[in-house]
Every structure is written in structure tokens, then in C-alpha cells.
């Protein structure tokens, strides 16, 4: 990994974190939760979780990437709690379970729609990340966790199995469910294809 010595020195010295990463994490949190008090709490929880997990921080990623990954978990947890108490208005609830995508015969019931990928839109990353985090917040907690460990933190499935105490087969199924759900949620909320593709 091409992590600089300086970066490593920062991350191993928690006293430098607020000055080094504070503004960045705060902006990231604030842009998602829109509430300065909540954003501050999330940054604090992130730092505390990082402190507890410091020995797990291997040469895997930069300090920014690592701390942001933790912050995303915290944001998704926050959104999940918030949405549990509120009616979700900005996102349609997707009720279909993974099985619901298929007919009994195993062929598609809700077919993946063609996504019109607009190069300009795809770079609206703020918007994409907002929708993605909202979709993740709708997933059962463990599915979201497995997905984030795999795709955001880049853990191998072996590491996920160890961390979540599940079997390999279980991890593949969980990641499959998470991807299937997210694919559909993004199709509805980002690609504007609420019906999927019909015959």
C-alpha cells in the first residue's frame, strides 16, 4: 500500500485527528444530515469508534478513507433510526424481498430496466452518495453492514465472515441480497425507473 509515513503518524496519534480530519468529516456529515449538532455527534462517534478500532487499522487504506468509512456507518445508523420514527417521504419504500424479483419458475418478475447513464449525472456524486446512503439505511442492519465492509472498506469475504461471525455461504447470500436491494432502490430513486422493465 502506498500510504505515506506522515499519514501513518497522523492516524496513530489520535490527538492530531481533530485538526487533521475534523473539518473534512464534519463537512461530509453535515452535507448528509443537514444538522450541525447531529453532524458533530456523528464525528465524535466516528472518532471514538476509530479509537476503539485503532489496532484494526492496518495498511489497508488512508486515514481519510478509513475514518470516512466509519462515518458512513454512523450516518447509515442515524438515518435508519430516524426513518424508523418517520414516514419516508423522499424515497419510495421498496417492499419486494429478493424472492419477489423472481417468478416461481426462477425467471425475472421485476426485470432490471435499462439504465440511461448520463455522463453528467453520474458525476453528481453528492446526489448519488445521498441516495445510496438512504437506500443502505433501508436495509436490515446486518445486510448494510456486510455491504459497507465489502464495498466501501474493501474487506475480503473471509474478513467479513470473521468480523460478523457468519459462514462464507451466508456472506455471499447477504451480499447478494444487499446488492439486489440496492440495485432496485437506485433504479427507482436515481435512475427514475419505478416500474422496472415490463414486457
Amino acid at each position: 500500500m502506498n500510504r505515506s509515513k506522515a499519514e501513518e503518524a497522523y492516524i496513530l496519534n489520535p490527538e492530531t485527528w481533530v485538526d487533521r480530519y475534523g473539518d473534512y468529516l464534519y463537512r461530509f456529515a453535515l452535507s448528509r444530515v443537514k444538522d450541525p449538532g447531529v453532524a458533530e455527534d456523528l464525528v465524535q462517534e466516528t472518532f471514538l469508534a476509530a479509537l476503539r478500532g485503532l489496532q484494526n487499522f492496518k495498511q489497508r487504506s488512508s486515514g481519510h478513507t478509513w475514518l470516512t468509512a466509519i462515518l458512513k456507518h454512523k450516518i447509515v445508523d442515524f438515518l435508519r433510526k430516524k426513518h424508523r420514527e418517520q414516514v419516508i417521504e423522499d424515497i419510495e419504500t421498496v417492499s419486494e424481498s429478493t424472492d419477489g424479483f423472481f417468478k416461481n419458475s426462477g425467471s425475472w418478475r421485476i426485470r432490471p430496466a435499462k439504465w440511461d447513464i448520463n455522463p453528467a449525472k453520474i458525476f453528481e456524486q453528492q446526489e448519488f452518495m445521498d441516495v445510496l446512503l438512504k437506500c443502505l439505511a433501508q436495509l436490515p442492519e446486518r445486510l448494510a453492514r456486510a455491504f459497507m465492509l465489502r464495498e466501501m472498506e474493501g474487506l475480503s469475504t473471509e474478513e467479513i465472515c470473521k468480523s460478523m461471525q457468519i459462514s462464507a455461504t451466508n456472506s455471499w447470500v447477504m451480499l447478494y441480497r444487499a446488492r439486489t436491494y440496492l440495485r432496485r432502490c437506485l433504479e427507482i430513486n436515481w435512475f427514475d425507473k419505478p416500474t422496472g422493465e415490463v414486457e
Partner: protein, 91 residues
């Protein structure tokens, strides 16, 4: 008998996802490749979950991906430092 050897869309979608997490056995890879050549919906599913992976990775932290305005207010900064200090001392 032929059907018994063929994956249906539901099975293929699971295997396609699994292929993002581990290397599948040769036979399964061949079966999936054949299915994807014939089935545009599974092919789409495959492309789209790969796209999601790329997007998720691509939208990893980059300083310019969100609004630059907003820095930690001084009092929040002080509180965070205090919290970290006492948490580090306690550990």
C-alpha cells in the same frame, strides 16, 4: 434433463453476485457466461451491480465531492478534542 443443468435467472443473479466476492468454479463460470449471452436481463443485472461497485468505490472520499463550505465550529472542535483526549487517556 438439460434444464437440471441450467441455471435459471434467480440462480444466475446469485452466482453473478457471488462472482464479485470469489472466483467461481470453472463449470459455473461457463454456465453463467452462456446464460448471460442469452438473457439480457441477467446481463443487465451483472453490468449494473458492477457499476454500483464502481460508483461506490469512485465516490470514496475526495475533497471536492461535496460542499466545501462548513468547517467545525470552534466550540465543537474544542469539545471533540476534549472527548478524544479523555477517551485516549482512559484506554
Amino acid at each position: 434433463m438439460i434444464e437440471h443443468w441450467m441455471f435459471n435467472c434467480k440462480e444466475v443473479s446469485l452466482k453473478v453476485s457471488e462472482s464479485l466476492d470469489r472466483r467461481l468454479p470453472l463449470f459455473q463460470r461457463l454456465m453463467i457466461r452462456m446464460h448471460l449471452m442469452m438473457c439480457r436481463y441477467c446481463a443487465r443485472f451483472h453490468r449494473q451491480i458492477l457499476l454500483i461497485r464502481e460508483l461506490v468505490r469512485y465516490t470514496q472520499p475526495m475533497e471536492n465531492t461535496f460542499n466545501k463550505s462548513g468547517t467545525l465550529p470552534p466550540d465543537a472542535r474544542a469539545r471533540l478534542k476534549q472527548t478524544l483526549k479523555s477517551a485516549s487517556a482512559g484506554s
